[in-house]
Assembly symmetry: C2
Homo-oligomer: 467 residues x 2
């Protein structure tokens, strides 16, 4: 069987060998052009298309093994479903995804700063790939192809680790990709995959060769990787989002935004887990919002004030038994990512209280205000220290595709490099290039106090690297 880490003699490679081979493949790729990388992507698409039957066979092996795990109660039916690459248009969608990524603008080679240092000397800051990515994900085998496309498009080498449930499929997909690479300007080790957890923990210490770790999966996975590695990690460990209904909240907007934020996809990281209600809305907007949520089957965990508001509204309406979906809050509920039809509710007496609650309890992912007061909207956006702050829009918009980033590499709750939904831009960094056309060459000793001054004439507009 072909190994999938670019090794040909069959002996397993150590984590260091894998990481070193990735870095070598990355360094060897520096002169591969955008057009060539796009061609590589198309050749991978064709190779996968030609091996569709084989991929399905490998996928069947994984599915059979997984079914046994499901029967034994060790795996969920949902995970089994995610594993299946043969269903519907999943395989074709996976291939189309490669072409979609190829069609995106090149994130590398962009000049983001340029300045004239001297009459004949210019400085350019140019985007370029980061280096070697280690991407760790769970069961869905098509992620191998998806990440491969993103890595090649952005010029980064990648080491992939999928869930053990997708072992056969992921290994075969990587083999096919490496075969395609072997006749391309990129080395086969540009994309490698590893299979075991042991390999991952060894790879996490290869900070000499690996530049960025991207965990895609559960909070537990992300946290364990952040704990285990000194390498930069791009991932989100939590999505504890809040919606705040401000004093001036419009009822229709309050109902629609809250219901969408909670119910559109409750298990997503951008779903709301906490609702903050201004005290002035207790018997007006709040009961309407509560009713709409209850109709959607949402369990409300309420503090005393919000409970009182509901009881009061119920007495006025004079009907129906008190809804069974309404419960008393427990203190930990404000720090819990339910990922379910459950919402923690708290009454606040001011915008400032709402902001303080969010900054103290939210995961700094995405939070929204519903307000008719533009100044309060602006204050909320600035004062809430989260990756996304929205006015009269659902937290569910926090997503790379919805933001128009073309693709989503992940969502970062980190505060350096990339924050929030991350597109291809999150896979690049930059380097500085100086070109001197000075007849004698440019030397630093000729500049400074009492010598030549630097011009520092910043070039404006869209600048292309002239060499």
């Amino acid at each position: 069987m072909a190994t999938t880490n670019g090794h040909t003699n069959g002996a397993p490679k150590s984590a260091e060998e894998i990481a070193k081979a990735a870095k070598k493949a990355f360094e060897a790729s520096q002169l591969v052009t955008t057009e060539q990388r796009n061609e590589v992507l198309e050749s991978i698409r064709h190779a996968l298309q030609a091996s569709k039957d084989k991929v399905f066979e490998a996928n069947k092996l994984d599915l059979e093994a997984a079914e046994k795990e499901v029967q034994a109660g060790r795996l969920s039916q949902q995970l089994l479903k995610r594993l299946d690459l043969t269903k519907g248009s999943k395989f074709d969608d996976m291939l189309q995804g490669i072409s979609d990524v190829a069609a995106l603008p090149d994130p590398t080679g962009q000049v983001t700063y340029a300045t004239k240092l001297d009459e004949e000397m210019e400085l350019y800051r140019v985007t370029c790939p980061i280096g070697v990515l280690l991407v760790i994900f769970e069961s869905r085998p098509e992620v191998v192809v998806n990440i491969t496309a993103l890595a090649i498009k952005s010029g980064n080498a990648a080491i992939l680790k999928g869930g053990k449930e997708s072992l056969h499929t992921a290994s075969l997909l990587t083999s096919i990709i490496q075969s395609a690479l072997s006749t391309s300007p990129l080395e086969p080790a540009f994309i490698q995959s590893v299979q075991t957890r042991q390999e991952i923990s060894a790879l996490l210490s290869q900070d000499r060769y690996i530049d960025l770790v991207i965990p895609r999966g559960s909070n537990a996975l992300v946290r364990s990787i952040q704990q285990a590695s000194r390498i930069a990690v791009m991932g989100h460990a939590d999505g504890l989002c809040a919606v705040y209904l401000d004093e001036s909240a419009d009822e229709t907007k309050a109902v629609r935004v809250t219901v969408d934020a909670k119910c559109d996809y409750p298990s997503a990281c951008n779903a709301a887990e906490t609702l903050l209600v201004h005290e002035s809305l207790l018997t007006t907007v709040w009961p309407k919002v509560a009713l709409a949520l209850i109709e959607k089957g949402v369990q409300l965990r309420c503090d005393d004030a919000s409970l009182a508001g509901l009881r009061c509204a119920q007495e006025v309406s004079g009907n129906k038994a008190f809804p069974s979906l309404v419960r008393e809050i427990a203190p930990e509920d404000y720090d819990t990512e339910f990922l379910d039809l459950i919402l923690a509710v708290k009454v606040v007496s001011s915008l400032s209280d709402a902001v303080q609650h969010i900054n103290a309890h939210s995961s700094h992912h995405t939070d929204a205000i519903v307000t008719e007061n533009a100044a309060n909207g602006a204050t909320f956006c600035r004062a809430v220290d989260s990756a996304g702050t929205f006015v009269n829009a659902s937290t569910r918009f926090a997503d790379g595709f919805r933001y128009g980033l073309g693709t989503e590499v992940g969502i970062s709750t980190g505060r350096t490099h990339a924050r929030g939904p991350v597109g291809l831009e999150g896979l690049v960094i930059y380097k500085y290039m100086i070109r001197s056309a000075d007849g004698k060459g440019s030397i630093a000793g000729e500049f400074g106090t009492g010598k030549k001054p630097f011009l520092h004439q910043q070039m404006q507009g869209v600048i292309r690297l002239p060499f």
Copy 2:
């Protein structure tokens, strides 16, 4: 004595309390405007000016203690000199530095991406501070004031740790800064300082509150911090830069660029440590470059081919004894940051060999090519995987001020967030803001396949946040 971590009752605070107070001060500062932050900087300048005598007294205490250490041979004379804040215009320069930073453009509040998602819904990506910085530096006490200015300007709270030699001066400077903050819109805990190494190691585990660690000092300091912390670290552990003399190198440029790169400031991280010479230059350009270096007192550690070139040139000239500054290379010399008048020399047979040597041995800091061939210059800039790649310009230009960044927070050899010389931009990240003016509020459930499409009309040019 006033403590310098924003604590008033005299009891020492734990690392967690310090870090938590910093985060709280950061969160409380979100609505403080650019203008207010600039005013705070000016008030700090005035407070320091008014306390000049006291600062000099504290500095004298540090100097006296340091002199004893020098006499005991435990401290270098150079370090003692760095500690002295009373010499010449050092104090006034320190104060002027505050105003210089205040005068820089605000790195926060810049819209770097904006797109119309729907007719009445816009998305803005806006730069903002990162959060809490932990800055660790060595003896120079004025760094306290310098970092304070950068942190306040960029809206980041900071915890500072200087060398133990500057204890009295640094503590007093921080007290004065905190007094000034206590009557400002920023909380005193926005700038704190800690004194002991124990506190640092405890702080390095406060990843819940501290967002970025910036070590400024020796390689050993930077490396030990990178090893000890899971928090993002921005620093450079090495500066092993190379100059490559290409086949077509002009003699004048070769001599000037190499001599400047090596001799302008040999202990700087952007000084050259390695010279690569194309084999075609062995008896032409290379001996001229060697002679110029020897005249400057540079010891040349040469491989066999470069040695042979020198001998051959000497035989032709027929005079002088073989220079004593020329030695044979040892293999580790190509991986050594000499920080001294020593240069490792290697002959290569092609541009590609030069690139491979640099990618394998340099610290990916800054490398330069001397060439008259524009295509080779462009190839070098792309193929060398370093933060700076220069054509016919000395590696010594790699510097924040020289790049026109206004200031230099540090130089990063990291590959995420910031790379190369880092200005105020390195102290900011961004957040996404959505503003919907849709009459019913914007909800995600109404968009997608078969529903409303996203407009994704990217706004062009310089965009100001409209709210």
